[in-house]
Symmetry: C2
Subunit: 135 residues, 2 copies
């Protein structure tokens, strides 16, 4: 089974231009072409693209993803370096999660504050309405 570039774009959430860009810079291997020169992606290609998408979400730079992609070509011999990249990324993700958690506190504090301001303003408007009613 193989897929057109449009199908891959659809299923991966990347644009067609982005897929071609990733190929140009060596993130994706050039897929086979059909008789008319169009790209046909295999299941393997799809899985790799899904994986790229996933590690992109962790905030990995394209530079690092390219290194990782290049290392795949060396098979088991590059397992050590690839493991290291994943380890570094995990460290990164863990600290980013912690960072975001601490930001939540600030956000919540601000939200509470604005809520209080809004409540006070609503109350004031209520008072005015009452005055208007009794005047």
């Amino acid at each position: 089974m193989s897929f057109s570039i449009a199908e891959v774009a659809e299923s991966s959430g990347l644009s067609i231009d982005t897929l071609r860009y990733y190929e140009r810079i060596g993130l994706i291997d050039p897929p086979v072409r059909d008789s008319g020169g169009r790209r046909r992606y295999t299941d393997d290609d799809l899985r790799w693209i899904e994986f790229l998408n996933k590690i992109k979400l962790t905030g990995m730079s394209i530079k690092t993803m390219r290194e990782y992609a290049a290392l795949r070509k060396f098979g088991d011999a590059s397992a050590g370096r690839r493991k290291q990249i994943m380890l570094d990324q995990r460290t990164d993700v863990l600290s980013r999660i912690a960072e975001l958690q601490s930001c939540l506190d600030v956000l919540n504090y601000k939200i509470d504050n604005y809520q209080r301001v809004e409540d006070r303003l609503a109350e004031l408007r209520g008072d005015l309405t009452e005055q208007g009613a009794t005047a």
Copy 2:
């Protein structure tokens, strides 16, 4: 008490250029100047810069931060909109945390795999050494 731009840069972790850039684009109010025309930042300025830093960590764009900064000028009247911005940002942060958590699974899976490959390679090398010893 007031601070030179170098001191603010030091304490905020932003560069001097970035501080001036933020001022240019309206993220930071122009601080008062000393007799020689140099910027002197107040405690209030510092607090605002710290806050900016914090919400930047949440991934808020400069565009949104600028809107938020501009809204401050309207005081309580803008509390509603500012609360909304913080609410949106909180939603964002929560989903990003969830996303990162799910990425951790992939990272862990990969790390385990590479560990297994390395273990196997180490074992093979061990065998070779033994062979070498007995040959």
